[in-house]
Symmetry: C2
């Protein structure tokens, strides 16, 4: 039995992660999640990408909003707005409970890896998921308006400021989550989910030890760019602002030497032969659960073919 590591950020990556959880058993895949988006807000330790993956794998994700928890209400935040408090970061009443619980467990001395596992267990998630690191790493977005904390850029300012670069605060003193480090001692391949390369995947790759571990393994990435557009989020906008082509080929180029294989959408089939890595062309736009499962199966089979 082979064991794979799947690297993911939030919503876009979580779609493929759900597919992978249908295709691979808990013994066959570990999800390692970006925590560069994490921040402290209203005194709560918030981990947006971890929560998105947790809610998705627990079948509790809010499919109407595309983020957050199902059956959500907004009494607390609406009341906070009435009181003149900070309400720009939309925290639903039920979602708040997760942040309270995590914050309390962290304060009691648990690591983020332990808290993540405990919450997953409570919500009946069978697959393993872990933060990239137990040490705080914070994505700073350099923009024409100055350096912004990620959530200020992403949520408060709605990705409006033009991006000039990124910095991951805390990297020098960060270590890989013990759960991830342990998994990597016996791992046969890596899947990079279709998340934003700059702010979802790069923070994971920046954790000391991660690139070195991946260099020894076949690594397949699924393009988050289809026909020059991002399926979800600001990836294409960022690429334009960074003055690189907003193309799938550019994403492959961004990952560079790390990449063994690349999964392209049918809309980008023309690029197939021009890339310096092996590619598979398939449907990558995931609208239904079956789409997620199909893409997961193609990706895993591709990775398996590269591993031999």
């Amino acid at each position: 039995m082979a064991r794979y590591l799947a690297i993911t950020g939030g919503v876009g990556g979580a779609k493929l992660a759900l597919g992978l959880a249908h295709v691979l058993t808990p013994d066959e895949v570990l999800f390692v999640v970006n925590t560069g988006d994490d921040f402290e807000h209203l005194g709560l330790a918030i981990s947006p990408d971890l929560d998105t993956l947790t809610y998705t794998l627990a079948d509790l994700n809010n499919t109407e909003l595309g983020w957050g928890r199902r059956d959500e209400t907004w009494q607390c935040l609406d009341t906070l707005a009435e009181l003149g408090g900070e309400s720009w970061f939309r925290l639903g009443d039920r979602d708040l409970a997760l942040h309270f619980h995590r914050t309390q467990l962290l304060r009691a001395g648990a690591s983020l890896s332990q808290v993540t596992a405990e919450i997953a267990r409570r919500l009946g998630i069978r697959h393993g998921l872990a933060p990239m690191s137990d040490q705080p790493i914070r994505t700073i977005v350099h923009t024409a308006k100055g350096a912004l904390n990620f959530q200020h850029y992403f949520v408060r300012d709605r990705c409006a400021p033009a991006v000039t670069g990124f910095h991951f605060d805390g990297i020098p003193s960060a270590r890989l989550s013990p759960v991830v480090a342990d998994w990597l001692t016996d791992c046969q391949g890596v899947i990079i989910c279709p998340s934003n390369p700059f702010v979802s995947v790069d923070p994971v790759l920046a954790v000391p030890g991660m690139r070195e571990a991946l260099a020894r393994l076949p690594v397949v990435a699924v393009s988050p760019i289809v026909d020059g557009m991002a399926i979800k989020g600001p990836t294409a906008k960022m690429m334009a602002e960074l003055k690189v082509p907003a193309t799938a080929a550019q994403v492959a180029s961004h990952y560079g030497e790390l990449l063994t294989g690349f999964v392209l959408d049918e809309a980008d089939a023309a690029v197939h032969d021009t890339l310096p890595v092996r590619t598979v062309v398939t449907r990558t736009v995931m609208l239904t659960l079956q789409d997620r499962i199909d893409l997961a199966r193609v990706t895993v089979e591709f990775l398996q073919s590269l591993a031999h």
Copy 2:
């Protein structure tokens, strides 16, 4: 125009406070509120008595529950319970917003007096209310099961452990709220609302400077004990455990020299002539708003008569 100070704890005292707010203008009364019940929970600064008074004066109190905020929902706490988190202290979704806001303002450097005034302003409260102190004072309940933080005794353990005494942590380094100290420089009388003498009023009296200020003024207390029973809360149970009679006369005796006058319920009319202070007998059980207004009027007129 005379100015009065009204000392109050939570629910019982807030009923008379609402009546006083109908009878006296904002220039005529300041409410000083017990903060011995305050505690930090889930990382939030919670001030139960201040909130009860705030909600009551803003006409936002939950009359069905008898505590908390109107039109409340419990999504966050119910979800926290599902996650295995701490849910013994019932915080409604809308109530949570107040605690978030207060906690944020305190962290930003505001004093509890300033925060209380800001929240009251936001909620359209015209009368002044202030915590007894800006320094943290914490009521410790000594019981047969050991020393308990007040909310652990009161909410978590439902007042079950037998009380042996009380201690107010933080008193030596506490000062009166500047709002209260300022009001006392030009104040003609004091009303002690029908709150628990041991855990609602005594903490206020314990703040350095309060007893000295009150010694110069006529002070009228409204009995929280009617016919040997507490209208609300554990007062009578505490008195029995402290091995003193659970009577209105005992409450008057508890306040001792501080008291100029005492308001007794009709059920206790027989005690009238036996007390060492002047008394008024009236209906003190407040079921309707009119009851609150009537008792407030009787109390204020009694205080005015003593002031001359």
